[in-house]
């Protein structure tokens, strides 16, 4: 079960590219076992390490810098997490310690995967993201209940964000979506019973 998330303060790293896809977040070669675990090391492997499959850090890459150790907030551009649906991208981010991602927009499947794994995706207007990204090693605070982002280095700056009630509850309470859905089991059963009468072939395909 993901850890509940409500208030969070942490060091932010800005990787200001648009269209960072899930192949970049976790290259396929780093998905070595049929498991959700052991992926943090492979996070951004193509940018983080000098050689494919190697573990020698690229000194320039932001997450390899000394002052960025313990980064838990990621800042990025448009369409973050586009591409492959692999949930491994979020598992890798979460295992690495990322709890919050602030971007101009997100890939749809990735966005849903974040919510189910205790990672908060925050969409902010482009200029707000750029303001935050301009601060080196920013300390960013997020208040999910009140839907607010602040930054220690920018005392006068604050940004409100939108999030639905359901994703908010998922994250704050660490809800289990399957259990939640099964509260409507009677309605689900009734639907399938009705449907099986209308489309019997769908329920009897050998």
């Amino acid at each position: 079960m993901p850890q509940p998330l409500n208030q969070h303060t942490g060091i932010a790293a800005a990787i200001m590219r648009d269209n960072i896809d899930t192949d970049q977040i976790i290259p396929s070669r780093e998905m070595k076992t049929v498991s959700r675990d052991g992926l943090g090391e492979g996070l951004f492997a193509g940018w983080r390490y000098t050689e494919p499959g190697g573990r020698v850090p690229v000194p320039d890459f932001i997450l390899n810098q000394a002052e960025q150790q313990g980064t838990s907030v990621l800042i990025s551009g448009e369409n973050f997490g586009c591409g492959s649906s692999r949930e491994h991208a979020v598992w890798a981010l979460a295992e690495y310690g990322i709890r919050v991602i602030i971007a101009k927009s997100f890939g749809e499947i990735f966005h849903g995967n974040c919510l189910r794994n205790g990672v908060l995706p925050i969409t902010l207007p482009a200029d707000e993201v750029d303001t935050l990204a301009a601060i080196e090693t920013a300390t960013v605070s997020v208040d999910l209940e009140n839907q607010l982002v602040t930054c220690a280095q920018l005392p006068d700056w604050r940004a409100a964000f939108e999030i639905g009630e359901y994703p908010k509850r998922l994250l704050i309470e660490g809800l289990e979506p399957i259990e939640l859905t099964l509260k409507d089991k009677d309605k689900i059963d009734a639907f399938f019973a009705r449907d099986a009468a209308q489309r019997p072939w769908l329920y009897s395909a050998a």
Binding site: D18, R36, I188, D195, Y203
Partner: protein
């Protein structure tokens, strides 16, 4: 109240309001593959849940399987990849779901197999932990890609909690110029409106150009919808679709009732869309990508834009203002769920017949499924590829994405009939140019980026 095709599909599968703008949507059929599906099955079991209705879940081996001709049953193309195959097999057996295994005559890429086997049908809701599930909307299905946790959720409960997306209509009218395909429509659309242009939308493709496309071409068009950030894509089923799905393995026997149900899946006049895009097909030219996002595409004879992203130029080894035509290539790949169907192979074979791949180019063709392979072999298309110097592989995702293991060398410029030109997608440092199968074939022969019409005309006796 007039409804769109998408509204009709949504309403048909809506179990109940789940609060906060979410609906519970019933899932008719689910697809899994060994790369992400195995994790979902395993985690489902670990969490003490069962598959609610195993008869409506299908696991297919495609992502990690070796494409080496004569591959073994568990042979993977990446080190350690066998585990994905063997574990998914074991879990599929334990869960009692359908398994289309590596040695099954129906095996292939999940999005190629689903229509072929009649798993995907008009009016069905389908999900798969794979982003290109949107392909299946080409048959008039409600089909979208999900993550592994959602796959678990769908297997355990039979439903998903989803917010109804906004709707966009992309109307394409007119005749496509010679040499243009569904792939060119998709790249043209994404280049013009951006990789985020269809964000969170259910897109309906319609218009006379779409009507004229065959089913395989429609699958190509819908396949690329996720590269446009769409939630899903749909095309209203017509006669061609009804003919296509008839008698498929997992399709119901034809009946007047089914025909009526399926042909009713069309957008009513005056049904509202949040966004509309109109495209004149005659404006489209054969496309190729130059950068590392599908939006970084343009006509084959383009120059790299002056304002191109420096990272993209750097990765692709290009300079702003440079012409793509004439750039030397080292690799050519034909296959994938985008362009790995029979018509794609036929288009490439027309170019390759009587010609040879240029020295220094590694050219690979991997049919999208065993059925495609058998049809191609029956038509002698495999011989055309082989005589031209192409490798002819066993069906699967193959070189579409790098999984560790076999790939092109870093820095190689590759023309590819796939859907993603992301950094490293086909291998570390590999420079992917997305284009249509015929152009891939032409470039392979020329050893450089070119149009099929640029190739020297063949002597009559060699044709």
């Amino acid at each position: 109240m007039p409804q769109t095709l998408f509204d009709k599909l949504w309403t048909r599968h809506r179990v109940c309001d789940a609060g906060d703008g979410y609906d519970l949507i019933a899932i008719d059929r689910m697809l899994l593959h060994e790369r992400t599906g195995g994790v979902a099955l395993k985690s489902l079991q670990a969490n003490g849940h069962e598959v609610r209705d195993p008869s409506r879940v299908f696991a297919i081996m495609d992502h990690i399987v070796s494409f080496r001709a004569g591959r073994g049953r568990d042979e993977a193309r990446s080190p350690g990849g066998e585990a994905f195959i063997t574990e998914t097999r074991a879990m599929a057996h334990a869960a009692g779901i359908h398994l289309i295994d590596t040695d099954n005559p129906g095996q292939g890429i999940v999005h190629v197999v689903a229509p072929e086997q009649g798993i995907a049908l008009p009016g069905l809701s389908l999900v798969c932990p794979d982003s290109h599930t949107c392909s299946l909307g080409a048959l008039g299905a409600l089909a979208w890609g999900i993550g592994s946790s959602e796959a678990e959720h769908a297997m355990a409960t039979g439903v998903l909690r989803v917010q109804k997306p906004e709707q966009m209509r992309v109307r394409i009218d007119g005749e496509l110029p010679a040499g243009c395909t569904a792939k060119d429509i998709a790249l043209y659309l994404i280049a013009r409106h951006g990789a985020g242009g269809g964000r969170r939308c259910a897109i309906e493709f319609c218009g006379s150009t779409v009507d004229a496309l065959g089913i395989e071409a429609r699958l190509t068009l819908c396949n690329m919808a996720v590269e446009f950030a769409a939630f899903c894509a749909v095309i209203a089923p017509d006669e061609k679709v009804l003919d296509y799905v008839a008698d498929r393995a997992f399709a119901p026997p034809a009946s007047a009732e089914l025909t009526a149900m399926w042909t009713a899946l069309a957008t009513d006049d005056d049904a509202p869309f949040a966004f509309e895009i109109e495209i004149d097909a005659s404006d489209i030219r054969p496309q190729i990508s130059w950068g590392t996002s599908p939006e970084e595409s343009g006509p084959l004879n383009m120059q790299v834009p002056a304002d191109a992203r420096p990272q993209a130029l750097d990765y692709m080894g290009l300079q702003a203002g440079q012409s793509l035509l004439g750039m030397e290539i080292g690799g050519a790949f034909i296959g994938s769920c985008t362009n790995g169907r029979l018509s794609d192979l036929q288009a490439a074979a027309e170019i390759l017949a009587g010609r040879r791949v240029a020295a220094g180019v590694r050219a690979v063709c991997v049919p999208g499924s065993q059925a495609v392979r058998r049809q191609a072999e029956a038509l002698g298309i495999d011989q055309v590829f082989k005589q031209a110097g192409f490798e002819w592989g066993e069906p699967g995702c193959a070189m579409c994405f790098y999984a560790g293991g076999e790939t092109f060398a870093p820095g190689t410029r590759v023309v590819s009939s796939t859907n993603r030109n992301f950094e490293g997608r086909q291998g570390p440092g590999v420079r992917t140019h997305l284009t249509s199968p015929a152009i891939v074939a032409a470039c392979a022969v020329a050893g450089e980026i070119c149009a099929p019409s640029d190739l020297p005309v063949l002597e009559a006796e060699t044709v």
